[in-house]
């Protein structure tokens, strides 16, 4: 966790600094102590060396003085003068013992030993320490350190005066333990003195002793060394004590400092942890609980800033949530929120009852304002927007507080309410429609609002909010299409819609997969009762749905923009078939239906001319049938288009005449050749069906008056055929002759039937 590691890091850093400081102090004290110790010990050894030399000098002088006094003893001199060696030897021993000499030697003035106390070992030989003797001859006396019998000795030499020198007496004193003890007592050093031939007597451990080895001046060139040794452990004692004290002191300081550091680190990290927890609460969406840090320092300011930020975030989140769930224009809930509430309501309904039957139901109405685009375009967006706002208000006023009114986008509104029954739902819808009975007045404009309402209910129509909305939507489109104002969702409509979508997808592949096929239905001349034309009708051999009629998929092709491809395919196939029949001796013109959208394809006339030329057919071999409503879509452009086709010699027909609202004046301007009466007038045509009879008769008369060929569709009975013949209709088409047939079957039928015998 970051906070803990920060505290730990802070703590570690502080402790590390303190430990380093302590360690540094201890190390420097240690090294300073060692340095001082070394210097001290070295000084001690040097001083010890000087003390040793001084002691030896002093001893030499004292010995010399003693010997001098001895040599002046009259009896001694008398004995020496006697020249009697045994006497002399005894007096040497006797007097030598007075001064504690270890050896006494008498030397004559020629440097030859006369007598000694060493059992005559030296007698008769030259004095072994010639340099000592020379020194004495020059200075009256001499003393020196010598190595004698492998032991260090101090030898002193003085003359025997009577009163003139008559001989030299020499006394040797071994440097024994007493001397060394003196030195030790004075210097606190260990000491050893040895003659080099004997080797060192003291071999101190180098790690425990500091030593100084020093050659001592000797009178005979022999090697006498002194070794001074200082016991380091002893010398180090005060330093050890000092180090221990400093260590103890710094340990105490360290402990105190660590405690202080812990407290300090905590005082920093604790509020940080509080801040982190506060930030965590904000992250979880808690904008209420404030962060409490009772400090006036930077962290306290930070906590205050945190709290301010918290409330600012809360405010902004509210705003964002509102914007996300509400429509900016009307202030009503938007689609998201509506879906939420719908889901919530459905979930609540599901909870309150185990079974859907008879339980509480949730109703919704999808509402679309009719002709809103026209209003918007005509009166401007501002008016349109204001209208939407007013519609929203009226909806809200119409409904209960607990119901939800939402704007889903554009001119689409939705209402949700708790509806115990269908009847109740329809009442709500009726109330909404009633709310718009009075026009909405915007400034000086009065607008009549008509709306289409689609009702869908849970659980009857859907089990979830999304499906319920889609079904309400479908119902609304039904209402719009049927101009009924209100429609309730019909079960199954949804599947129909899905099938449509699926077919649109399949249609893309239909031409490529060669699933389309042309069927032909004959048009017979009424008077001659012979077939002159064949209308080409496209069939779709759908792999799953089987053979489909044009009215099932042509509207889909129009919607999905595939109609152009299908039309061209039909024209190409129809012309090819026509050419084939002509080669086979059947002189037939083929009729092809054009969609309203085909009239906007300006390349179509060239395309058709090209195909006819290619096939070697006269232009009149093809009849293009255009519905009345298609012509009415864009009359001016359609007129130009038709004129172009007409100029190319193509025969033109108005299809389904009587269902549209075309004006006669308009019709008069169209360059068409034929008029096809819609089959709805013909199917039930009997002598007793007065209305249809009137319409058919007057249409035939109208057509003839305008110089057009009139064709009746949907002729199924002999009676209707007879009526048409009586009314003077030019051509007829329908099951009375035959249903549409594939090309081969059509040819066979034609050659076998009475209709085909008089082919041109």
């Amino acid at each position: 966790m970051a906070v803990r590691s920060f505290q730990a890091r802070l703590l570690y850093l502080l402790i590390a600094i303190l430990v380093l400081l302590d360690a540094g102090t201890l190390i420097s004290v240690y090294f300073a102590g060692q340095r001082t110790l070394r210097n001290t010990v070295a000084d001690q050894l040097r001083v010890g060396s000087r003390v040793l030399n001084r002691i030896l000098d002093t001893r030499a002088r004292q010995l010399s003085d003693s010997l001098r006094v001895l040599a002046l003893d009259f009896a001694f001199r008398e004995a020496v003068a006697s020249a009697d060696v045994p006497t002399i030897t005894s007096v040497l021993a006797n007097h030598g013992s007075r001064i504690s000499a270890d050896a006494v030697v008498l030397v004559n003035l020629n440097g030859v030993v006369t007598a000694d106390t060493l059992g005559g070992r030296l007698s008769g030989k030259p004095f072994p320490f010639a340099a000592l003797l020379r020194d004495a001859q020059n200075h009256g006396e001499a003393s020196a350190m010598v190595s004698f019998a492998n032991r260090p000795y101090q030898f002193v030499l003085v003359p025997v005066l009577a009163p003139r020198p008559i001989a030299w007496v020499c006394a040797g004193f071994e440097i024994d333990e007493r001397v060394l003890t003196d030195v030790r007592r004075l210097t606190h050093l260990d000491i050893a003195i040895w003659s080099s031939s004997a080797g060192p007597q003291l071999a101190p451990d180098e790690s425990k002793y500091a030593t100084l080895e020093q050659p001592l001046p000797t009178g005979d060139g022999s090697q006498v060394n002194a070794l001074l040794a200082s016991n380091l452990e002893e010398a180090q004692k005060p330093f050890r004590k000092l180090e221990l004290q400093i260590f103890a002191l710094s340990t105490i300081v360290l402990i105190v400092a660590v405690f202080a550091a812990v407290i300090f680190a905590r005082s920093v990290s604790q509020p940080l942890r509080v801040l982190a927890e506060g930030a965590g609460r904000v992250e979880r969406g808690d904008y209420v609980t404030p962060i409490v840090v009772e400090q006036e320092d930077e962290i306290g300011h930070l906590a205050t800033a945190f709290n301010q930020m918290q409330s600012a975030i809360a405010t902004r989140e509210d705003e964002i949530r509102y914007q996300a769930t509400h429509d900016a224009l009307t202030g009503l809930p938007n689609r998201t929120l509506f879906l939420d509430r719908l889901s919530y309501a459905i979930a609540g309904a599901k909870r309150s009852t185990g079974s859907a039957v008879g339980g509480p139901s949730v109703g919704m109405i999808m509402m679309d304002v009719d002709r809103f685009k026209e209003i918007n375009d005509t009166l401007g967006h501002q008016v349109g927007d204001q209208l939407l706002i007013d519609i929203g208000r009226r909806l809200e006023h119409t409904l209960r507080q607990s119901d939800t009114v939402a704007r889903l986008g554009g001119d689409e509104f939705a209402v949700m309410f708790m509806a115990p029954t269908f009847k109740h739902a329809e009442e709500v819808a009726a109330r909404i429609v009633g709310a718009f009975d009075a026009p909405i007045i915007l400034g000086d404009v009065s607008i009549d609002v008509n709306a289409s309402l689609g009702i869908a209910l849970y659980p009857a129509h859907a089990d979830d909010a999304g499906t319920l909305m889609r079904h309400a939507d479908i119902a609304m489109y039904d209402a719009k299409r049927e101009h009924s104002g209100i429609a309730v969702y019909e079960p199954g409509r949804d599947e129909h819609t899905l099938r449509r979508l699926s077919l649109i997808m399949d249609l893309r592949q239909a031409i490529v997969r060669d699933e389309l096929e042309l069927y032909f239905q004959p048009k017979a001349d009424v008077r001659s009762e012979r077939v002159g034309h064949a209308e080409a009708l496209v069939r779709w051999n759908h792999p799953r749905h089987g053979v489909m009629r044009p009215d099932e998929f042509i509207p889909l092709a129009e919607q999905s923009g595939k109609i152009g491809l299908i039309t061209k395919w039909v024209i190409r196939k129809a012309i090819a078939q026509c050419a084939q029949w002509r080669r086979e001796g059947l002189d037939l013109a083929v009729a092809v239906n054009l969609s309203a959208l085909d009239l906007f394809d300006s390349e179509l006339p060239v395309f058709i001319s090209g195909l006819l030329t290619e096939a070697g057919l006269p232009p009149a071999s093809i009849v293009l049938e255009i519905t009345e409503s298609a012509v009415m879509k864009d009359a001016a452009f359609a007129q130009k288009m038709l004129a172009d086709l007409k100029r190319r010699g193509v025969c033109l027909a108005i299809d389904d005449f009587g269902t549209g609202y075309s004006s006669l004046a308009h019709l008069k301007r169209l360059p068409v050749d034929e008029l096809k009466i819609d089959k709805s007038f013909v199917l039930n045509l009997t002598e007793t069906a007065a209305d249809d009879l009137v319409i058919v008769r007057s249409t035939i008369e109208l057509g003839h008056n305008m110089g057009l060929v009139v064709i009746a569709e949907g002729v199924e009975t002999a009676e209707s055929w007879a009526i048409l013949k009586r009314l003077g209709c030019d051509m007829a088409q329908g099951y009375f002759m035959t249903k549409p047939l594939p090309a081969e079957a059509f040819k066979a039928w034609l050659q076998a039937s009475r209709w085909g015998s008089s082919a041109r």
Binding site: F74, V80, Q137, L161, A162, P163, R164, I166
Partner: protein, 199 residues
Amino acid sequence: MKVTVRLIAAVLAAAIAAPLAAATIEARVTDPRGNPVHDAVVYAIPDGRTLPLAKKSAVMDQKNRMFIPHVLPVQAGTAVRFPNSDDIRHQVYSFSPAKTFQLPLYAGTPATPLVFDKAGVVVLGCNIHDQMSAFIIVVETPYFDKTAADGRASLGGLESGRYTLHVWYPDMRTEPQPQNVTVKSDERMTVSFVGHGRS
């Protein structure tokens, strides 16, 4: 210090009028630097003749803690008295082979003098005053003298004949080489010695 002795002798025969037919030897003793040596004893031993012991006497006084004279040449057989002129006692002794003796602490003059009948140097000391020393030079000839401060000594009344001339003085390292001389009556001869050692 190593001592070398070099003797340079120049013998000058000088005919100096000597009415009693006695010859005289004038001797001069110097140290190597040419400084005169004081209290040097010069004596002549006649060749081939023995001379009778002298019945002479001499005095070695002690005054102010000093022996006076410092150097006393005597002919063998001479009796020397040792008066004590100080008001303190002295104990005179000699360990010299020529005459070993000891005069116990005494004041005044001892009753009997000591006869020095053996040639040699007798070193005198006082046992209670170490700094006191003196020399009695016992020679077997009546012909001897002691140099004065100018380093000169004079041996007079010599019979004609051959002599060996010796020199001794305190602190000398080695006795200078004796010189053989022949003197004739009335002859005055001058002999020089150069000694090595302190004067």
